[in-house]
């Protein structure tokens, strides 16, 4: 036992001398911390998140840095790999705060990880701005230090229901006669999306005829689609991450299911256009952001200019996960400038009072910390491209309604 103790003590000394001791902050630097999934099941989106953060930091430092009061600071981010597991994420948040002395955290990727980290930042009264945790349940806990720049999950597909109602009216049908079919994965995020759809369908007086919960290891939804064929609903909404989108697009085409409106989430991360070509045509897809939107800011310029810069830097088109991550960094910078201090309490209050426009959209938080100024975007796949069809204010194309029947394509 004595031996064991001395080994532990030896290890501790060794690790301290190897530089695992608290990272010291240079005087003219603001250090942000983030746990990011660079390995594990979220590694792809984790990478998008990191690239988004890095691009914003690079651009801000190039533009001179952050002016807080009379001092100008450069930004730096400390990253750790959370391996896509919530428990590890919480440990790392603790490490960032207690060992590295980080006073401001950027969010991880996914609602699950954010949910694990938020209690830690809350306990230490450390502000966290995140762009990749959309679950509604994050904003019902009374957190004071959590701010999200993205639209929350219940808003993801509710615009599809509104769009269905609008289109039905335009076609001379009463929205109350519409039948809605829903298939949502049985996980917190998708069930939040479902809750939003149910609320909206109720508001329009539509009838929900199918309400299937898809299993987590979903690879086949033909049972649900067989039901869809028998009941002929007017709207079909699906959410089950990239897996769900890929499965749905493939099987709707294979089984030749005709529904006037088909809407889903995660089309872009599933790359349904690249994988299925014209089978993906006319599908509606929810998105947080698109480069064709008319938002702009002083740092990146327009959404399109951001997209071009991102492509030049990383060699691929920016997914919305990257855009919202960049917007999270910008939100912090905006708050630092207005707070004129790096005191966590003052920065938190400044964050709560945020109201500005970025290339990603308007940002204004309600008292729970979620962004209420930016609506979701709805794409339709038209001619092998995502075209924004809703909200109509920023839409670049008109919705094709109803979807042409498979027999007529």
């Amino acid at each position: 036992m004595q031996n064991f103790k001395s080994i532990i003590a030896g290890c501790l000394v060794a690790s301290a001398s190897l530089g695992l001791a608290p990272a010291t902050q240079a005087a003219d630097e603001i250090v942000l911390g983030a746990a990011i999934s660079t390995t594990g099941k979220y590694s792809t989106n984790g990478k998008h998140t990191q690239n988004g953060y890095d691009l914003a930091v690079k651009r801000i430092n190039e533009a001179g840095g952050v002016k807080v009061g009379d001092t100008v600071y450069k930004l730096r981010i400390i990253y750790y790999d959370d391996e896509s597991t919530p428990a590890r994420g919480a440990q790392l948040a603790d490490r960032l705060i207690n060992q590295d002395g980080v006073k401001f955290l950027l969010g991880p990727y996914s609602s699950g990880l954010t949910k694990a980290i938020a209690p830690v930042t809350e306990k230490h009264k450390i502000p966290m701005v995140e762009g990749n945790g959309a679950s509604r349940s994050l904003f019902t806990q009374g957190y004071k230090y959590l701010f999200a720049v993205l639209s929350t999950s219940e808003q993801y597909l509710s615009s599809a229901i509104d769009l269905a109602a609008e289109s039905a009216k335009a076609a001379g049908k009463d929205p109350k006669t519409l039948k809605v079919a829903m298939a949502f994965e049985n996980d917190p995020f998708s069930q939040d999306v479902r809750a939003g759809v149910v609320d909206d369908a109720k508001r329009h007086g539509m009838k929900i005829v199918i309400d299937d919960k898809l299993p987590k290891d979903l690879s086949d939804m033909s049972a649900t689609l067989t039901k869809v064929r028998a009941l002929r609903p007017d709207v079909l909404v699906i959410s089950g991450h990239a897996r769900g989108a890929a499965t749905a697009v493939r099987q709707i085409a294979e089984m030749k299911i005709d529904v006037p409106i088909v809407a889903m989430t995660h089309c872009d991360s599933a790359d349904v256009i690249g994988k299925f070509k014209d089978k993906a045509e006319f599908t509606l897809c929810a998105s947080q952001w698109d480069r064709s939107l008319t938002y702009r800011d002083n740092l990146f310029g327009t959404a399109e200019e951001y997209a071009q810069l991102f492509e030049k830097e990383y060699g691929y088109k920016p997914p919305y996960q990257a855009a919202e991550s960049s917007a999270a960094v910008m939100t912090f910078v905006d708050a630092f400038t207005r707070a004129k201090s790096l005191d966590t309490g003052k920065v938190r209050d400044a964050l709560a009072a945020t109201e500005f426009q970025t290339f990603y959209g308007n940002i204004k938080f309600d008292e729970t910390g979620k962004n209420i100024a930016k609506p979701m975007v709805l794409y339709q796949v038209l001619g092998g491209e995502y075209k924004v069809v809703a909200p109509t204010k920023w839409a670049s194309e008109k919705l094709v309604y109803p979807r042409p029947k498979w027999s007529e394509r």
């Binding site: 390995t39 594990g40 099941k41 979220y42 590694s43 792809t44 896509s84 298939a183 049985n186 299937d212 919960k213 898809l214 299993p215 290891d217 979903l218 690879s219 086949d220 939804m221 033909s222 049972a223 649900t224 067989t226 039901k227 064929r229 028998a230 009941l231 991450h241 990239a242 897996r243 890929a246 499965t247 493939r250 294979e254 089984m255 030749k256 991360s269 599933a270 790359d271 994988k275 299925f276 070509k277 089978k279 027999s407």
Partner: protein
């Protein structure tokens, strides 16, 4: 019970469900066939079964990425996986043959984690799939739709199964494998190189899984963490059919597919997998009850 009403109003739906389920079941049967072989001959429960399926899918994906017809994935994935299985034998499997089941489960579990993480590193965590570009077959005025990809998968799965069965029956290696399964020691005494037999068995299993994986990626999707459901389904099919009962494996696989699909429709998709497990429990209880009747004589 709206779903039952749909079924009564339009009985043709049942045809659709059963047909699609049967076709899909052929793929489960294929993976289970390999598992039964390894289990029966080597007394190893190969937990990495699903990951071999996964690797077969990725091989096909790479081929399709090179512009080749994804159908080539079936033989190529089988070959590549055969080589991987053959290579794994001296490295690891050799050391666990003849040890207790727990050791083999742990070791193959290790292989499965390794393959998952390697796939994640190489191919990323994204959902992948290959489009065959084949259409669908419409029956009963378009009320029953079967995709040609599924039909093809069924045909290929049956064909691979048949080849395997013939191989075990009529080739020298097949006879050696069967002899080793019956009594490894006696086979060794009679001059069978059991080490080679084990390596071949494990490699054939991997190859069969590879072929199944090529079919999976053509009709569904794959990502690095999708292996487990295939392992579980194979396990179940083998448990239900019993070891050394290869026709039983095929029937159980097809039945599982059809039952799963119909249950998903009737009970809702959320109970699809739960139903499958309940079914397994029910079958085990039933088998135990039947066996216990025979046991009375011995008491």
């Amino acid at each position: 019970m709206d779903n039952i009403q749909i079924l009564l109003a339009e009985p043709v739906v049942l045809v659709d469900l059963l047909l699609n389920g049967l076709l899909v079941g052929a793929i489960f049967a294929l993976a289970a066939y390999g598992m039964a072989l390894v289990w029966g001959v080597m007394n190893i429960i190969n937990v990495a079964q699903g990951e071999f399926v996964l690797l077969g899918g990725y091989v096909t994906l790479v081929l399709a990425g090179q512009g080749m017809n994804p159908l080539w994935g079936v033989p190529v994935a089988a070959l590549v996986l055969f080589a991987i299985g053959w290579g794994l034998y001296p490295v690891l499997i050799k050391r666990i043959v003849g040890r207790d089941l727990f050791t083999s489960i742990l070791a193959t579990f290790g292989i499965s984690i390794l393959i998952q993480q390697l796939c994640n590193q190489v191919f990323g965590a994204d959902v992948q799939t290959v489009d065959t570009g084949l259409g669908s077959l419409l029956l009963f005025d378009g009320r029953v739709v079967v995709s040609y990809a599924k039909l093809l998968a069924f045909g290929l799965a049956m064909w691979v199964g048949l080849v395997l069965w013939m191989g075990l029956r009529f080739t020298r290696m097949g006879r050696a494998i069967r002899a080793t399964a019956q009594n490894a020691r006696a086979a060794r005494v009679l001059g069978v190189d059991t080490g080679r037999v084990y390596a071949a068995t494990y490699a054939v299993n991997a190859a069969v899984c590879g072929a199944a994986g090529a079919l999976v990626v053509m009709i569904w999707t794959i990502h690095p963490y999708i292996g487990l459901p295939y392992t579980v389904r194979s396990f179940m099919v083998v448990v239900v059919a019993g070891l050394g009962n290869l026709p039983g494996v095929v029937i159980a696989g097809l039945g599982l597919g059809a039952a799963e699909n119909t249950a998903g429709f009737l009970l809702g998709a959320e109970y699809q997998v739960a139903f499958v497990f309940l079914l397994m429990v029910a079958i085990l209880i039933w088998r135990n009850w039947r066996l216990s009747k025979d046991r009375k004589v011995l008491r």
